[in-house]
Symmetry: C2
Subunit: 392 residues, 2 copies
């Protein structure tokens, strides 16, 4: 759906932060507070000036037996009486938080909205964590024992066979994103991985192997939103949310007509492009949701960066390389090397685009005025696409 | 915080529904779908015209091991590619959903937003359910074994002693709300309870007894939101969201200066009054969050319907009676007799006010043009107040 912006002025991002991603001590509340405090400092905003505080988190109750986390965070940041709520859209909770924060500003409900997202997962066993995540699937599929990695394996096999793509092309997504992650001090894995290691790693869901998957991660990230007129009071270096939209696809994955097309990616991308007035060719840098390597291809295609069945050629050509490619993808390291703390990931994508657009991405810096982030919930069950541009 | 409405036009409610509340068969998804379908029919809106679909739910993962419920609901209602997310604000998730839906329309992000909320709780044991709800408390209080009923007992004792209020006045809240619930075909308890029964029921948290508490409930409720110009295309009988605001108080309850003042009630009420231009004297009917009888008094006072320490006199005077009082409170039966399925309750409050304002409350009908709903999260940790008015 096109989303014409009715609000009288544009929504700006004036601060960003993320914690170290990886295996972390502490509760979810500690991680959220860490990112929240750092974002307040980065934006130069007093906690008492925050009017809304949204928390992106999928499953603090399931992982830690703790609910009401947004209320606790407002208290811990001394931001009372700021209004707060939890935004849950499974693994796209962060992107959903961006959309919610945008709405809070664009509607006039808030003039300063702090968005903090995070997840604490690594203290649970891998089977337990996988089961909590698998609980997003439809009961008719969940009861068969299917998990998100199973969907990924089935889709990857179909893609490789149908489009005559080499298995190596998927591995090259992991090579690229790990290489980018080396320069991200917050990434869970700051080390390169070569193609041979990837192709010889243990099979998880054939044809996908261990290195085709993102890790289990603890971490938090934050962004600060306000109307553009307010942003100008704080800084000259801010970013505008030029377009944002979210869309669903069938919740029962096997009902989709074409398993290589993620309808939520296509529809949310369309909405974000339409709202912003930009198209795929205008995007200078993108963060895509590479929870599994195959997903980077499906988003490249769904967002119009490649024709259907041809994204694999672009990775082979180096089109998405950070320093030499036409469209650098996942300069942050992506979920693959940065890690994937569910509620934080979509926000961390936004943090990377924000830093790229204001020129603070350090050794990861590319030349970019317009960036895109695509955050995928479940196996494309709901997707949020955000387009940001540097302030003029 | 005052929330001036920047949007070019007002936000309308054009449809409402609620399921039978009580012990229900089926999953949360079944309950949500039931209310969602009925709300689409009530509003005369096609599922394909829904642009955003928000789901208010606190704990489907904890109660049922099921997440991603909003995505499943969009699928089951055949509303793809409508954007969806879960709104969690503990026991005020429904009120938070109203605020989120308002923001989605006022920001221009959506021209038709379906809000559905619900909870499925009764299949779990009372200790387990109480523990899931108690997980909203701050860890420093949770670890002492405190639960929401404990807070209620402590506060009630303090209130009765400090303001020299008779124990009977609390019982009369239950008598009134049960009496109102008799005429609500969706209420969990459709039967009167006399004062003697209440005062002799088992002690739960001294001085509060069994009948001072709302029950554990399954159920769902829904509301349909759109811009006023769109509402006119569907119906002449719609309601306007005149004011809405949310606010937090300390998450650690024992840090509050005055345990009889709920800061979240006061602040959210102030914001909603300011946005609407109305004050306490303008309100014709109110739904207050009577999870515990004492809460009705605290909200009466926090919202300016009574002076501090004097709400108990109003119940003694019959001021809040449905058919004879100046300000009918909880005409629906309140959480006390209608039941309290966490994610549904705030929306069900909105359903009651909507029906009162368009004159469809049947035997519960009062004379009202302006109504207020106050939805309390945790023990006042976050509160959302909404003021609705009948369309002119």
């Amino acid at each position: 759906m096109p989303k014409p912006q009715q609000a009288s002025e544009r929504v700006a991002v004036v601060g960003a932060s993320m914690t170290q991603f990886g295996q972390r001590e502490g509760w979810i509340m500690d991680l959220l507070a860490e990112a929240g405090i750092e974002c307040l400092e980065d934006a130069g905003v007093d906690a008492s000036d925050v009017e809304h505080l949204y928390v992106s988190n999928m499953a603090s109750g399931e992982f830690e037996g703790m609910t009401g986390v947004p209320n606790a965070l407002v208290h811990d940041l001394d931001a009372m009486p700021a209004y707060t709520q939890r935004v849950d859209q499974t693994s796209s909770s962060g992107g959903a938080g961006i959309y919610a924060a945008w709405q809070s500003i664009a509607s006039g409900a808030s003039d300063m909205t702090l968005l903090v997202g995070g997840e604490k997962m690594s203290h649970r066993s891998t089977p337990k964590t996988t089961d909590i995540i698998a609980s997003v699937t439809h009961p008719v599929e969940y009861k068969t024992g299917v998990t998100l990695p199973s969907f990924a394996g089935l889709t990857a096999r179909h893609y490789l066979e149908r489009f005559d793509a080499p298995r190596e092309s998927l591995g090259k997504v992991a090579v690229k994103n790990h290489k980018n992650g080396v320069d991200n001090p917050h990434a869970q894995f700051q080390k390169e991985v070569d193609l041979e290691t990837i192709l010889e790693s243990p099979i998880v869901a054939d044809p996908l192997r261990l290195y085709d998957f993102c890790p289990i991660t603890d971490g938090s990230a934050a962004l600060m939103f306000c109307p553009e007129s307010v942003a100008k009071e704080y800084t000259d270096e801010y970013v505008i949310i030029a377009g944002v939209d979210g869309a669903t696809d069938t919740h029962v994955v096997h009902e989709r007509e074409d398993p290589t097309v993620m309808g939520g990616v296509v529809e949310s991308g369309k909405g974000a492009y339409e709202m912003s007035g930009y198209g795929p060719d205008d995007i200078d840098v993108a963060e895509l949701h590479d929870m599994f390597t195959i997903l980077e291809f499906l988003q490249m295609e769904g967002l119009g960066f490649a024709e259907q069945g041809e994204a694999w050629k672009l990775i082979e050509e180096g089109y998405t390389e950070r320093d030499t490619g036409e469209l650098p993808v996942n300069t942050s390291g992506g979920l693959k090397s940065k890690g994937h703390p569910l509620g934080a990931s979509g926000i961390a994508q936004g943090v990377e685009i924000y830093e790229q657009l204001i020129g603070e991405a350090g050794p990861r810096q590319v030349d970019a005025d317009i960036g895109l982030a695509c955050n995928v919930g479940g196996f494309g069950n709901c997707v949020i696409t955000t387009i940001m541009e540097a302030a003029q």
